[in-house]
């Protein structure tokens, strides 16, 4: 545990650094997705330079070795200064890094980790059109062959929901190397260069006009055997390390940002002249209290992790709380905004508080569906926390 004084010193340091370095007007500057990507890269490199990009990495890395309490302070200050969220480098610094730290060979670590700090972007190739909530059902095949004297996996299949894969240099890829036994047993974890022959990335047009996710078509892509993480057929365990890399701080940061966005609802109330309407005030008060509870549960989750007391299902509760509050928050904004919100607004990339409530409402589904849908979270809570029994494996109808 850190003492309060040293945390406050850190807070002052971050705040001072942000006062000098935080970008301004970034929302307006990002008129295209490419501009957004460029701006994200620049801000990430700036944060690396300042020593605040990878506080969760081990201490031997510059800016690493921060305790969770220190990370929390850094995130709080980043949210407070309304800096761009680090979306493009998120998979790189969390998912990829955590995979390397926990499961990779020394060679892999030495090769890939430094490049992340130089701005190399990673994406994830996990989900498939028929393997979403049921990830282990994935079908992308990898066959081990010798080609041009090199031992490689030849990979063919289709991936989906790869966040910002159109900008990615590298990919964390799950493939099937065997169809024998349990679904999980035949899965292998590979690192794939996105410039490889046979990789075809197609951005998915989202309903709010964004292109945050991509489909990835893999046609006989050759991945060197040395790019495997963990043993062949043991990729499922590696994927768990990847997926468990981060949840708490992101949701804490997002809940804090939602608290800050309460002012946008207040604005609508004033605009509608409802400052003294009891019903409207009560709805506003109730949703802001739920926002406070989303902040409180995220805080507690991190505290429990700090104390090593995280339990199964805790993360699901944090996520489900956030996703439900977020959607209802957007719905209240929509209601108060009225017909004006139905006019199409320009896209604001990667922000949950875009200034247009229809866009925010649509963005809210990214939290109720992606990263483990509300339904999957409910299953986890009911089955593992309340111990109500798993869904059956086999049914006789």
């Amino acid at each position: 545990m850190d003492d309060t004084a040293s945390l406050e010193t850190l807070r002052a340091d971050v705040r001072a650094w942000l006062a000098a370095n935080a970008p301004h007007g970034w929302r307006e500057a990002e008129q295209t997705h490419a501009e957004f990507a460029a701006s994200q890269k620049a801000w990430f490199l700036k944060l690396v330079e300042g020593g605040f990009a990878i506080p969760h990495w081990p201490a031997e890395w510059p800016g690493g070795g921060r305790s969770l309490a220190e990370q929390k302070v850094i995130y709080e200050e980043l949210a407070r200064a309304d800096t761009p969220r680090l979306l493009l480098s998120f998979v790189s610094t969390y998912h990829a890094a955590s995979t390397f730290f926990e499961c990779a060979t020394p060679e892999q670590k030495a090769h890939y980790l430094p490049r992340i700090l130089q701005g190399e972007i990673w994406c994830q190739g996990f989900s498939e059109p028929n393997a979403g909530s049921d990830l282990a059902a994935l079908k992308t095949r990898a066959v081990r062959e010798v080609r041009d004297g090199r031992e490689v996996y030849v990979v063919s299949g289709q991936k989906i929901w790869s966040t910002m894969a159109q900008y990615a240099d590298q990919c964390l890829l799950l493939v099937r190397t065997s169809s024998e036994g349990a679904k999980q047993a035949g899965i292998t974890f590979l690192l794939m260069d996105m410039k490889s022959k046979g990789v075809d990335v197609r951005p998915i047009n989202q309903i709010q006009g964004d292109q945050e996710y991509c489909e990835m078509f893999l046609d006989e892509v050759e991945v060197p055997v040395e790019n495997r993480v963990g043993e062949e057929g043991k990729g499922w365990a590696v994927a768990q390390a990847t997926l468990s890399s981060e949840r708490g701080l992101t949701l804490m940061e997002l809940a804090y940002r939602m608290r800050g966005a309460g002012g946008r609802i207040a604005e609508l109330i004033r605009k509608a002249g409802k400052e003294n309407d009891p019903g409207t005030l009560a709805e506003f008060g109730a949703i802001m209290t739920r926002v406070e509870s989303a902040c409180a549960i995220a805080d507690r989750f991190i505290e429990n992790r700090l104390k090593g007391e995280e339990r199964v299902g805790d993360a699901s509760i944090v996520k489900l709380t956030y996703s439900r509050v977020l959607q209802d928050f957007a719905l209240l904004g929509l209601r108060l905004g009225g017909l004006d919100e139905q006019v199409r607004a320009p896209i604001v990339f990667g922000d949950l508080n875009t200034g247009n409530w229809m866009a925010d409402y649509m963005n809210s589904y990214a939290w109720t569906i992606a990263g483990g849908s509300d339904e999957v979270q409910r299953n986890i809570i009911a089955e593992r926390m309340l111990e109500m029994g798993r869904e059956p494996k086999n049914w006789v109808l």
């Binding site: 028929n130 979403g132 989906i160 998915i204 139905q342 199409r344 229809m358 589904y365 109720t368 569906i369």
Partner: protein
């Protein structure tokens, strides 16, 4: 007398469920050819005089396929013309609007000033002004047609999230009303305006019910097809119960829709309350539709978002639920 079920069959044949949001202009032509622009016009004025049951049926069906064509708007403005006792060329107008000429009207509160017969201000949320010859101006004690090509009239599209509809702001700058285009004045104008509002609210309610029913159908079909954990999603009880709740809410709103459509004594407050109920059901159905579709529902490749965006627009057209329910509550309090 045409049976409602025949009309429904014809509508479903002309606008099949598997072609969502068919092109507007082709749909409009088809609608004119089907004779639907004569359906509501009284027989003594050359129409079929089928009444609200028939128009409601059509609006439900148009809602089901997310129609882009402004049939409801056309029938509303045509009714005003049919009720007119002052319109100079009434027969001509009814003939033209029965065969494809389109007159539009605003679906949000107007912000206009009337100085004698000179009008200024903006009519917001006017559907398909680009294909309309005139907009029907309804203001206190005056209903009149305003030609959209007049120099004093500016038309500006406001692009919507809902891709299946187009709304315009029509701005009048010291527009002098043509006496030949006056539809009604004084008490007669107010009576017609009240009828138009009823039609408007009923039309949106019908659209919402049709849309909600189609959204649920599509969702249930998807759940039957989509497999996760080695079985169709349709077998997961939590999802089944949510679909059952949607079905129940849609059917109950549908029952009220038809009860109101058949009730000549129904008030505009009652139509407003119906509209609020139907649109909330549609909105919630599409919320569940996207959630139950998962990721695919968030992409433009799938039609879920078309339903959702249309539901949101329906929710707000001609007044949101808060305002309409407040009026219903006030009426119930006075009852």
């Amino acid at each position: 007398m045409i049976e409602l079920s025949e009309l429904q069959d014809a509508a479903q044949k002309a606008f099949p469920a598997d072609t969502l949001a068919p092109a507007r202009d082709a749909s409009w032509q088809l609608i004119a050819e089907m004779g639907w622009l004569m359906i509501d016009l009284p027989e003594d004025l050359g129409g079929l005089g089928l009444g609200r049951d028939a128009t409601t049926m059509l609006h439900v069906e148009m809602g089901r396929v997310l129609s882009r064509a402004p049939l409801a708007t056309a029938l509303i403005t045509q009714r005003a013309l049919a009720l007119s006792e002052t319109l100079a060329d009434k027969a001509g107008w009814l003939e033209r609007t029965s065969t494809g000429t389109f007159v539009t009207i605003n679906y949000d509160r107007r912000r206009i000033t009337l100085d004698g017969r000179t009008v200024s201000g903006t009519l917001p949320a006017v559907p398909d002004a680009d294909m309309a010859s005139h907009v029907l101006l309804c203001t206190d004690g005056l209903i009149a047609l305003v030609p959209l090509d007049a120099a004093s009239v500016t038309v500006r599209e406001r692009p919507l999230w809902d891709e299946t509809r187009r709304l315009f702001d029509v701005t009048l700058a010291d527009h002098a009303i043509d006496p030949a285009l006056v539809v009604a004045e004084g008490a007669a104008a107010d009576a017609i305006a009240a009828t138009l509002r009823e039609d408007m609210l009923l039309g949106i309610a019908a659209d919402a019910i049709g849309g909600a029913a189609a959204a649920l159908d599509a969702t249930v079909d998807y759940l039957k097809t989509r497999r996760q954990f080695d079985r169709p999603l349709a077998l997961f009880q939590a999802l089944k119960h949510r679909c059952a709740d949607l079905k129940t809410r849609i059917v109950a709103a549908d029952a009220l829709l038809w009860a109101r459509a058949a009730d000549p004594a129904a008030t505009s407050v009652q139509f407003g309350a119906l509209k609020a109920l139907a649109c909330e059901v549609f909105r919630f159905t599409t919320q569940e539709m996207i959630q139950l579709h998962g990721g695919i529902g968030l992409t433009e490749e799938h039609s879920a978002h078309l339903f959702m965006k249309r539901a949101m627009l329906d929710f707000w057209l001609a007044g949101g639920a808060d305002v309409l329910n407040e009026a219903a509550g006030r009426a119930a309090l006075a009852a």
